[in-house]
Symmetry: C3
Subunit: 390 residues, 3 copies
Amino acid sequence: MKSQITNALSDFFFEYETPRQVLVRNRRVGVVCRIIQLGVLAYIIGWVFIYEKGYQSTDTAVSSVYTKMKGVGYTSMNGTERVWDVADYVFPSQGSSSFVVMTNYIITEGQAMGKCPELPGKHNCSSDADCEGGRYRREMTGACVNSTKTCEVLAWCPVENDHNIPDPPLLISAENYTLFIKNSVTFPLFGVTRSNLVEGVDTSYIRTCLYHPKDAPLCPIFRLGDIVQQSGFSIENIAKEGGAIGIVVDWTCNFDVDVKHCKPKYNFHGLYGHPDEKDKVKASVGYNFRYAKHYIENGIQKRTLLKVFGIRFDIIVQSLARKFDIIPTLTAIGSGVGIFGVATVVCDLVLLYLLPKREFYKNMKFKHTDSHTQEPDSEACSTETGESKK
Amino acid sequence: MKSQITNALSDFFFEYETPRQVLVRNRRVGVVCRIIQLGVLAYIIGWVFIYEKGYQSTDTAVSSVYTKMKGVGYTSMNGTERVWDVADYVFPSQGSSSFVVMTNYIITEGQAMGKCPELPGKHNCSSDADCEGGRYRREMTGACVNSTKTCEVLAWCPVENDHNIPDPPLLISAENYTLFIKNSVTFPLFGVTRSNLVEGVDTSYIRTCLYHPKDAPLCPIFRLGDIVQQSGFSIENIAKEGGAIGIVVDWTCNFDVDVKHCKPKYNFHGLYGHPDEKDKVKASVGYNFRYAKHYIENGIQKRTLLKVFGIRFDIIVQSLARKFDIIPTLTAIGSGVGIFGVATVVCDLVLLYLLPKREFYKNMKFKHTDSHTQEPDSEACSTETGESKK
Amino acid sequence: MKSQITNALSDFFFEYETPRQVLVRNRRVGVVCRIIQLGVLAYIIGWVFIYEKGYQSTDTAVSSVYTKMKGVGYTSMNGTERVWDVADYVFPSQGSSSFVVMTNYIITEGQAMGKCPELPGKHNCSSDADCEGGRYRREMTGACVNSTKTCEVLAWCPVENDHNIPDPPLLISAENYTLFIKNSVTFPLFGVTRSNLVEGVDTSYIRTCLYHPKDAPLCPIFRLGDIVQQSGFSIENIAKEGGAIGIVVDWTCNFDVDVKHCKPKYNFHGLYGHPDEKDKVKASVGYNFRYAKHYIENGIQKRTLLKVFGIRFDIIVQSLARKFDIIPTLTAIGSGVGIFGVATVVCDLVLLYLLPKREFYKNMKFKHTDSHTQEPDSEACSTETGESKK
């Protein structure tokens, strides 16, 4: 019993099977097949390995973004000068990755809860009967105000009049603001953490630099006007009615080379409010929201309502890191060998079904286990073998 | 030397090797193996290619979301009527992808920094000794107030009393608000950008439409009550203590067909505050936060504290685009060929180890390089060859 | 015609081809090849299947996070005591996944729009000529103020003086605040939804528990001081100038076992403001933003400006679920078979080009279709076959 196992083991280890093959000496088939095989090889090496880097595994990053605006705006309305600093024009204030910079506004000061007529053009009426409560979305009192010929509503009064958007935009000076972006990315699979303050971007550089696609592609400080322009907007248009711009921080890294070559690229593209879009879907043009500052005056709750038009910036971190990994390498090789097999099958089909001497090749390639074969005489070996068995 | 290389090259190009094979004429093995092979083929073509679309590469999108609420709420407390507009009930105001709509609140007006007794039931005391500073989280003054039998604290006074949540919810009219969602997605790999305002969703349509799962599945305007209902909540429950609802915008696109077929689907599902959850983990039911409006009255800093109960909406963009790509196609084919090889191995095992005529088939399949074989007589060819060598 | 098809079909189904192979009895080749083959097998089974779980498909989750801070801070400046509650120190207030906890601040009270001199050290001047409007970013009036020897600006006056950051930080008591995290994840591919309030984390547990990496790794309530410490900061440093901390909720789940084993892990790592970073890029140290509270006093708009230094927390949900899937399983097997093929090719190269008896093995393996072969005598079978054809 033990010797049997030993025998089987020695048989297993000292024997090696390799397929028997026919060497077909035929120019046409040979050239065609070699070209197919070389093509497959070129595809595997050239495309899968070199171009698509199939020997690497990929990972995307988790990231954290911190933004900080700088700059002061200035408006002069009805003889009243005022300046707008960061605490006034950035929403929200805490430096998140998505924020709005106010570029235009409609201000309605001193609103208090009360009853007042609607704006002309909205809820017109000639008598109280036209103003039944609940007919419209606003809370109606049911009265028709004679002087304006509009219904009376329960609302923050006076009602906001947003028919005319200031043009030119009140805070067009926003184009001179600067934006500082701090972004840190971590690739959990590869255990690498990078900041957009890469090697060479130090304190003294940051103090003076300004992003430029060619001259200063790594400077994390951006002029708003430049961002707007590079995303395909004109500052006049976007500042008036607002819009949204995506700032893509692109981390495409190859960790097979030194990690210091992993640097961010900044791209800017318009998301909403694009002039092209204007013609298509007018309802959705622009970017605005309403914002209220509350206060008490003489014991009465009041608010200042701002309809804010602004540019919304979305910092979008896009990341793809690659590093050599044995699994995708072997998977690529393995499936490449499979494709090789397909090439062989194609060549065999040519050999066995298309060539004039196909019957000859068939006999060379195949051995039959029975004697009912079509050309028994050409099956020297197999017939012999079959007979010796009998 | 040169002719040698030429010879080798011509040998390489004009010769072609193809494996020699045994054609086993055996019904049982044949049928079994053909069925296995057809099964593998059906799997590769049917499952990998047609069902799982293994010939396509996939990409997920980077996206940007902008939301806008519309509608007015109305409350009447202690004879004081007031309305709540967007600037009052949406937090934060700037239209981000995650926001809260207030549906209920506990208001504490006129809080100022000072010393006042705690609420009954909290930090009860009978003498000053029970109120040592630092024993509790709140800043204690160390005094026990006789009238309430609770400790005195340094806090915004009067202290908020949130024992009773208003029921029915004060702003249950929130169900009539509408939500407009604007979403733009970019698939960087395929270079395609889409907006949820797809073909056919234009200005005039948006002005009148309201989302309905069947009748208007592409309308980007949603009634809050509908969202709540479709996410499995009842408006009464969620409005009272708050909750969270995820609005999934699902972009599952196939870019092998025209890009205009790439349309969003909207799904709604409850995240927190679900009635089922209520039984399990009561501590975490509901959604609320505190929000303060500051003002100065007679030179004293005061604030109005709102404990806001509301529905938090998270717009979650889920995207998966597919497009034909040569790499996954060939990988699928290649690994399919490999599976074919496994099928062949299985058939061979049946042939060589399970069939009664297995020794015969073994001899047909294998040629030995030495004469120490067990059945030399049946090894006609190989023996011959071996002998001719000697 | 019909019988022909029937014949072809019966041929196809009752016949089965299997490659003919040479069994090479050679110790060296045998051992080498078997070891290579066993190595490949071990790689496929051990590495791809068991270690990398290549039989599973993967999915990442869409998630929703809700946070809630608790705790009260206390400051005493110039004899004025005040407390800071959640509505005062968390930005934004509505419990989003990214928020800032104020730990230090510079307050500038009673700012009104007006004209005032700049801070000493900034925009110094000796005469009005040094203060031409537009020379600097701030809005200059063009006057040089004698008393301070600085230019006069149009701004919120008095101008904020942020030269000295309070040290020790005013709200260092922030380390005793607690943070409650509620996180729900959905794996769309597998249709599984999980909450971080897993089995066993119920109301009574939440009421008393506090997260500890070893003793209470599932408690969703965290002490701020613990988070800061585990992320590698000291509370003194980070509280003074601010910083950012990432709280990673890691959902690495295997859905081949019971879903209740799918539990979150919490990790903490510093993002900005790290002491190491301080030396490298000083410009970007710390985390601060400006925040204004507006009010009206005697009919004049005023504001209280807060320069907030704080710890920004980013809750980052990282998820990777795995489940058995037939596609990756068969792809792994298929490409494994391909690698096996490569092993065979390597062995064949050894056999046919390196061994002393290589010509003998070549003849065993290959059959030539013509008689121009180098060793016709050893090609018994093929010659025979070739002749019998002629």
